[in-house]
């Protein structure tokens, strides 16, 4: 009689199972463990190299705890500061809105050049795509610093910064959507005597418009988040107030500003997902 293991199988059954599912029973590859060990070693080196030490960590945590206690109750100070905060919040939303709009307006024609099926020349397509990559590769904050040199400090620089970095992102997404579109409607328009532009206007755009608008709304959401930090470099919006209040240790106002950001971002998220669902025609619950 053969022995049974904890799973209730006999040795013979076990051997049969092993033979049948060799892959499942194969000993774990050494490469997996080696990779995990290397990842952990790099983590340990990183923590050491970047100056993490228990002493520093816990004294910092202590101070952080104090800051958090100082944050309660959140407070806006006097009515004048409240008005200033609200104004910079409005500025933030305006920056995100105009920046996204401008980016979409410029990205649409450029994405036609960058899409395989609508481009006018392969060289131009390559050039446009690499330009998109470069625009995206530079962070919005860096663009903001550059635009400050052109139009001076203030929210306008923020609008232009968001616009230019999103031309890259939206252009790429738009051109991918255009490449994924159905050729038949464009061919139909051409077959009935339409020119290339007619094909784009009546065959392509109606197809891709809902997708593009959805992407633009999604970027509006994410730009509201990025617009909240543009003020840190002087490009308008609530970031200036936040960084000032943190630097002057006004923790109650910091907490109030953070709450303002949380509420605004969630309102914009809801609005945009409502709109996106309405445009996509889906009846899914807007969450």
């Amino acid at each position: 009689m053969s022995s049974m293991d904890s799973g209730g199988y006999t040795d013979i059954e076990n051997a049969a199972l092993r033979a049948r599912y060799a892959a499942v029973f194969a000993p774990r590859g050494r490469t997996g463990w080696a990779l995990a060990a290397a990842a952990l070693a790099l983590l340990a080196f990183g923590l050491w190299h970047l100056g993490f030490s228990p002493g520093r960590f816990f004294s910092g945590l202590n101070r952080l705890g104090d800051f958090i206690i100082f944050m309660f109750p959140p407070d806006w100070g006097n009515p004048a500061t409240l008005k200033r905060f609200l104004r910079s919040l409005g500025e933030t939303v305006a920056i995100a809105f105009l920046g996204t709009l401008l980016a979409a307006i410029f990205a649409l024609p450029l994405s036609l050049l960058a899409a395989r099926n609508t481009t006018v020349s392969q060289f131009l397509r390559f050039f446009t795509r690499r330009s998109f990559d470069t625009l995206r590769g530079v962070d919005t904050l860096i663009w903001a610093l550059i635009w400050i040199n052109v139009v001076g400090l203030g929210p306008f620089a923020g609008v232009l910064a968001i616009a230019i970095s999103d031309i890259g992102s939206l252009g790429k997404l738009f051109s991918e959507a255009i490449e994924a579109s159905d050729e038949r409607s464009v061919e139909g328009v051409k077959a009935s005597g339409g020119a290339k532009l007619h094909g784009i206007r009546f065959g392509l755009l109606p197809q891709v418009a809902p997708v593009l608008i959805g992407q633009v709304l999604y970027f509006f959401e994410s730009n509201t988040r990025s617009a909240t930090i543009l003020g840190i470099v002087g490009a308008g919006g609530i970031g200036l107030e936040i960084s000032e209040m943190i630097r002057t240790l006004e923790w109650q106002k910091v907490a109030f500003l953070i709450i303002m950001i949380l509420i605004t971002v969630s309102v914009i998220d809801r609005l945009s997902s409502l709109l996106r669902n309405a445009i996509a025609g889906s009846k899914a619950a807007p969450i």
Partner: protein
Amino acid sequence: MTASAATPPRPSVEQLASSYAAEVAVKRRRFLIAAAVFAGLVLAAGWMAEVNLPLLFQNIHKFPSYIGRIFLLDSGPMTGRFVLNDVAGWYWGLGKWLRLLADTLLIAYVATLLGAVFAAMACFLAAGNLGASRWVCFVTRRILEFCRTVPDLVFALIFVMAFGLGPMAGVLAIAIHTAGALGKLFYEVLENVDQKPVEGLIASGASWTKTMRFAVLPQVLSNFVSYGLLRFEINVRGASVMGFVGAGGIGQDLIEAIRKYYYPDVSAILLLIIVTVFIIDLVTERVRRHFISQAA
């Protein structure tokens, strides 16, 4: 001839035309109202954001000239010439910048790993289908939402005050933001797992941890890794500007170069960042493909 009595009278052409015109008018009116509201919003936003088109057109030439200027050498015998004429002079600080770039990558790596570990722990509490109570689920989700909505630079500003200047503040700031962002993606993956293996293990008497380990984890691990790698890409970009608020990495040198008008340094550092981000995009894309094909 009785059939003709049953069919309703056909509407005249005029009737059809007028109802069509009415329909079109309704549609047109709706479109005009929407356009007017939109135009109003644009104007209001333009006023709020202090848009100044004359100023823009007057100064727009400064934009290309700035871009051009960062590619001109500003010291040495080649002053005023294109940077490629003296690459060594252009990249005079290559050693220092590469060290800072390595720091930046390390910040992104450590922060992604720490954030992913927290996200992986939190997502089991935030998923609605794996036995966590509704209350725990709700609270965990709100915490994750808070972590991802507050921008990482704001966390960094606060942490610089608490932990002092340096990369530690940057790592913690990015880690918290990552935990929030990945936590959400992770629990959405968890909620979409196939329940059959889970039920099978529960039915055979496995404990909760064993169920998670053998029924859930194998299903979600490749997705987790893929999202983690995507986040690493994003975090490299994030870490490159952490230096703007004194939280470590190459951003410190970049903002100094921009603020103090060391033009060729700006292009040198920017180019390093862009190339690094590009290479990391390529590599992580490869690795992600590998994981996704393994999962399929």
